[in-house]
Symmetry: C2
């Protein structure tokens, strides 16, 4: 039912009906009630397309995530969805499956769909074409998980987090510590985390073992297992995400190593599932839900004020450490 119908039913003009809904304070109390009742009677449902066409605001937010198969992003999306709903926004999530080309594709599609703003996590803010496109379009956006000092970001301090993790491991007596990472070229997070690892090792006065970089997650188990078979292998593995850590534990098992007795494994992300594993996964936790929520709040706030989003508004959320059971003292 259209606004016209409501107007006729209430005996007022369409303008009044529109006001009654969008600027109630400008309409006399009684008129307002009459309109409301008429609307209910005819089961009026505002037409979003017409409103958008007229106002050029869709009240839709685009969301670009690497994948939903990694619970990190599923958790984040949950936070995004909640905050968006709370702010009266709908969301259109898109997934890149870590394909760079799909980043741009997603942004293009979102732009075509007429979203008011975008929350996204890109491979690398410094080089992202998608990001540049967004800026060229003047579309407002917030980066989640990424970090860059010329873009608005919501993330944790991956460097500090890894450095701290190293300190924890050394406190447990570990000296041969290695990092397992996804492709660093494909993720600024991985780069930062690795840098934190190196920094932590330097602080501890230890020589970092060679990085195990896993190009395709599918092959992670074999690749990690291979490094565990070498003499002088690590006694502790720091993994750049929880999914890798889970595979690392499997690799250890295949090598006949017991976790954490023979090998400690620490992940990164703090996915809920980690707590249900056996052994429970030790991990550096991120507030995934909050990262999503705060990103949206930042975006919506700027949208409401018609204000551009400044990089200075970037948020650095606190990370944590979940001890779990996969991390223990270094073997004697």
């Amino acid at each position: 039912m259209s606004i016209q119908r409501v107007a006729r039913e209430a005996g007022v003009s369409v303008a009044t009906v529109s006001r009654a809904f969008n600027q109630p304070e400008t309409v006399r109390e009684e008129t307002r009630r009459r309109v409301a009742s008429a609307a209910r009677r005819v089961d009026y449902r505002p037409n979003a397309s017409a409103r958008t066409l007229r106002t050029r605001k869709s009240r839709v937010l685009g969301v670009v995530l690497p994948t939903l198969l990694n619970p990190v992003f599923a958790e984040c999306l949950q936070g995004i969805a909640e905050a968006a709903a709370a702010g009266g926004y709908a969301i259109v999530p898109m997934t890149t499956e870590y394909r760079l080309a799909d980043e741009l594709h997603a942004v293009t599609a979102l732009r075509a769909a007429g979203v008011d703003g975008v929350v996204l996590v890109v491979s690398n803010p410094a080089t992202s074409i998608a990001l540049r496109q967004l800026q060229a379009d003047g579309l407002r956006y917030v980066l989640a998980y990424n970090r860059h000092d010329r873009h608005p970001c919501v993330a944790v301090d991956g460097i500090a987090a890894l450095a701290e993790a190293v300190a924890r491991l050394t406190a447990l007596g570990h000296r041969r510590i290695a990092m397992v990472s996804g492709r660093r070229a494909a993720s600024d997070r991985a780069q930062l985390r690795y840098r934190g690892f190196l920094q932590g090792m330097a602080t501890a006065g230890l020589k970092p073992l060679p990085l195990t970089e896993v190009p395709f997650v599918e092959a992670a188990v074999e690749q990690i297992a291979a490094t565990l078979k070498k003499p002088g292998r690590a006694t502790a593995l720091l993994c750049s995400n929880d999914l890798l850590a889970i595979r690392a534990m499997r690799a250890a098992h295949l090598c006949g190593l017991s976790v954490p007795r023979d090998l400690s494994v620490v992940g990164f992300d703090g996915i809920a599932l980690g707590e249900d594993l056996t052994p429970a996964l030790a991990t550096i936790t991120q507030p995934n839900h909050d990262i999503g929520r705060r990103s949206v709040e930042l975006l919506i706030g700027a949208l409401a004020d018609r204000r551009p989003i400044d990089a200075a508004q970037s948020l650095l959320l606190p990370h944590g450490f979940r001890l779990g059971e996969s991390c223990g003292a270094a073997p004697a």
Copy 2:
């Protein structure tokens, strides 16, 4: 840039521009090229709202899922997203977090957003108010995972799947087999799977052990552990989903039982993560990706033909069994 601008630039009428895009065959080749070039020149981008307002078709599909924290639905959503994109549809996913009220809420929001159709998984098709609402609105929909003979559904045969799983376990020598389930009242899948379990046990001439129904997943581990401490405990646990199975393995561990030596654990869903666990999770697999894809294809097909979707078009996709490592011979 609007269609008007393109028309002027190309020296044709707006109607011709519209046709050039939407019914190219009705426009002379050269005119078409002229329009295309003009469009490129002014960077024309069709306005979705205007089109929707005019045609009353949004080319957007609503999606209602219980949660994305369970990889089953994340995998399914991936299939949905792919198929939707392939068909030129955008999607708006909503999550109920297993709250019945949110089912209706999601459908209401989707309807307000003007979606052309909905793919959804409900708690129970027979009683779902959301479903009734959808029908009342004449909105086209397809149920995923659910089964009901008066609704179009895409799912696997949960009864047969469980019955077969029981057979496999008995073949391995198990006789004391128990099922672990989520709240059956909250899910027709759980009900069906349980029924399949009973049926399988009956066929094997075995007495089913009491069902362990876990109302809140958080408490699953303790609850399952409690049953494992009882005398005459099961030697094999059939879990109504993989997340529960993972917790069951943890419960076993806490009870000092080794999987699969002392206890076999089998899940349901076939989430990819299960293969990376240690022991690798034995599970009844569903083609989650395909369930999503086929649901959308069914929906889009009906939308294209302006045809209602008949319950007779329901699809029963094949399930499978992944042996994994968590399932072995019954202890002596």
